[in-house]
Symmetry: C2
Subunit: 458 residues, 2 copies
């Protein structure tokens, strides 16, 4: 951030005619918990060129497009750090069931009957529409058919980090771990240069991935410089079964296999012993907190405050629409904060700024992409969202960031930009054929209902 035009002395005349200038009533700088008032963001070729007082910006820049956010808070685009996006097609298909029954009796049989390139494409497209409308500009996905997900994300104009997903079991996408890896790496090669697309290695979970495969993944992650995104200690049964099979809790095995490190992204971590928190901190591991999904599947409540106290980076994830059932990161910031306060009986924990940081800059750091994502900073991609503060649910307003986290909902998101391209403008989603997408969703509804009628559980 500069108080004078950033490019004034060094840039050519053309820099005075940038693609876009956004004049914001409030601007949240998550890198230092700083609330700027009457500041403007200048965007050129998708990136942030300058951040300066609006009075100066109006004097200095003649942009091709100007957006006035008179009554708004502009904040970095939210990052959903754990999704199975395509499962938006299975939202609500198995509510009020415990996690292992949910998986074994409903989700897995339905997936085995339905999952395909087409399912993944259509489901991801639908999830992108929902997430963009709610201020999410990047999601970190773990699913099958990453080519299909990449196509959907690019069509939606959304940033996606796709999992090179690996399981030992045969499925509709691949036959065994080697096949998953082979196909995933092929997708990586096809897509990783695309500005909207990135990758993680995504071993499904300790209970579904063998030692040998974890070792192979570890090598690949180092070779390709990719994070490792995996489910970790989601529920008690899984830990108990792992103890029976491997003689240790999952985290201990991952440590032994050399998987832990700053590239490690463990999702859920609902059950952690004190020494496991120490281990995670010691290795510089990262966690993703999915509070709604953890509650809804009866898995428990991750010890967010303890993990923060240990200095571990934490981002927020929705998990899939089949277990949440909203792909709503703004709601997760609120829920995560409220849970930490309530469980620890300390209302000062996980305050508004910290939550916003977890959902933006800290998530970008976890993905190893803080140089280009996660905050409104000169040089980064212009991934931003705004909420309108002058509504009957948000007036009066004393602290815009506290309003964003505790008072607002995704319904208040008015504008979303990804790489400087408007994806939502005055609450209207752009770049989407809504009727077409609804019809596709209805088509899948019929297919799923047919499967349920065939009692796909058996």
């Amino acid at each position: 951030m500069s108080r004078k035009p950033h490019v004034a002395s060094i840039a050519p005349e053309s820099a005075r005619h940038p693609d876009l200038v956004i004049h914001a009533r409030y601007l949240a700088q998550v890198e230092n918990d700083n609330l700027l008032e009457h500041y403007s963001v200048v965007v050129q070729r998708g990136r942030i060129l300058d951040i300066l007082p609006s009075a100066l910006a109006r004097e200095y820049y003649q942009a091709k497009e100007c957006v006035e956010l008179d009554e708004h808070l502009l904040f970095p685009g939210l990052i959903n750090l754990h999704t199975h996006a395509a499962m938006s097609l299975l939202r609500g298909v198995a509510d009020d069931l415990p996690m292992m029954r949910w998986l074994k009796e409903r989700i897995w049989p339905l997936e085995s009957a339905l999952v395909s390139h087409e399912f993944t494409h259509d489901g991801t497209r639908l999830a992108c529409a929902e997430m963009l409308k709610g201020g999410v500009t990047t999601f970190n996905d773990m699913y099958f058919f990453p080519d299909a997900a990449a196509t959907a994300a690019v069509e939606a104009g959304m940033r996606a980090i796709l999992g090179i997903t690996v399981l030992e079991f045969s499925g509709n996408y691949a036959s065994d771990a080697a096949d998953y890896l082979h196909k995933g790496v092929e997708s990586f090669e096809r897509w990783h240069a695309h500005p909207l697309i990135g990758f993680c290695l995504a071993p499904h979970a300790p209970y579904s991935v063998s030692d040998t495969t974890f070792e192979r993944i570890q090598t690949l992650a180092a070779q390709l410089a990719l994070p490792i995104h995996t489910h970790l200690h989601e529920n008690h049964d899984e830990i108990r079964e792992h103890l029976e099979t491997y003689g240790c809790r999952p985290l201990y095995r991952l440590k032994r296999l050399g998987v832990l490190g700053p590239q490690f992204i463990g999702v859920h971590a609902t059950h952690l012993l004190p020494d496991e928190i120490e281990t995670l901190a010691e290795y510089g591991c990262n966690l993703v907190h999915c509070p709604a999904s953890n509650l809804k599947l009866g898995c428990g409540i991750a010890p967010l405050a303890d993990v923060r106290r240990a200095g571990i980076h934490v981002g927020l994830g929705t998990d899939s629409a089949a277990s949440n059932n909203r792909l709503d990161i703004l709601a997760e910031t609120r829920l995560a904060s409220l849970l930490a306060k309530g469980v620890n009986q300390d209302a000062g924990l996980c305050a508004a700024w910290e939550m916003l940081r977890m959902a933006t800059l800290e998530a970008a750091i976890i993905l190893g992409r803080e140089e280009s994502l996660g905050s409104i900073t000169v040089g980064k991609w212009a991934d931003m969202a705004a909420i309108r503060l002058d509504t009957l649910s948000l007036l009066p307003c004393y602290h815009p960031v506290s309003h964003l986290v505790y008072g607002a909902g995704r319904e208040d998101v008015s504008h979303v930009w990804v790489g400087g391209e408007a994806r939502v403008f005055d609450k209207v989603p752009l770049n989407i054929d809504v009727t077409h997408l609804k019809n596709i969703a209805r088509l899948w509804q019929n297919r799923v209902v047919s499967c349920l009628k065939m009692d796909v559980r058996l």
Copy 2:
């Protein structure tokens, strides 16, 4: 519900021309967890005259107004069973503070500087706008200046149950307990015959109301046939201090004073010992669960599942916008269910239908108003709301009620009726001068900010 026109054989010809018929794709009958498809609700003079298959309704009734809800779920208007509605003017003024500091350093000093008839009227008016838009048709309020709140609710066209609030301390509204009671009873006499207005005795809390006053309230509640609405066991400190002052926990004292019974509505009950749950069940007491507020103020998590197992009636409340910070009962149904599942590690607890029932019929039972409120039933007031299910965030749809509780948000509420009068239609709030109300909120914002600058805390 009748499969034939209810009034066909007994009613005069005029009954075939009712005020309103609503044709709904889905209709939630909370009295028996029954989902009707393609059913219609017939409304005459504010009450439900008939409920029948839409095909029959179209044949039989020629209504003055017809509403087609082709893609919607129609459900009973939500009941917010615990509010301090006027505090919408203080939303976000004291976030991330522990409860007693929140109260003593911010809320009470601000209230003492600002609360008046005008404050209560304007704040309640704003709260009504927010609640109606989110599908809430009735709220159970505890605040000062009930005449002001009644006026605001009637202007908004919303149903309000107002507290005859009692504290021992002098405040802007009254000087001592006798004065509170005197003024409250005067308001009761002025307003209780109004179809939109009801009353509760509302002793603030065991720690702020003396034995003598509780006894007086108990007598009055019996004389006026009103429920007793009070804060109960909200946090640890309050229970510990009560133990020091009275030598017992608050519930035990209330029992001794004879306050417990089916007319008793205890709010929060975040901390309950097993024998206290037994006592509450034994006396037929009712509870209000305010999960978001309890978490946010660091009070804890009420044992909803245990309380349900004991057979206690439970409704849901938001508490005030200063501690929630949303007056969003739909969000509370989701949060309460998720918390019960997560805390007990049992995803089957507090399923979708049960949550919807708590927020509607059970709340009406708790208020002693189940004969006229809480479900879509012939003879009751036509207090109803609808969500639109064919959106990109809710398609596909397998279970409309599970979608309502787990997937939808108040942003999906499309229609709201109170006593058959439309208050929200296709998401547009009626009966409200939005610009005027926003200006009023801004005025109060300036006054609150002035108080904060004067360091009202000291």
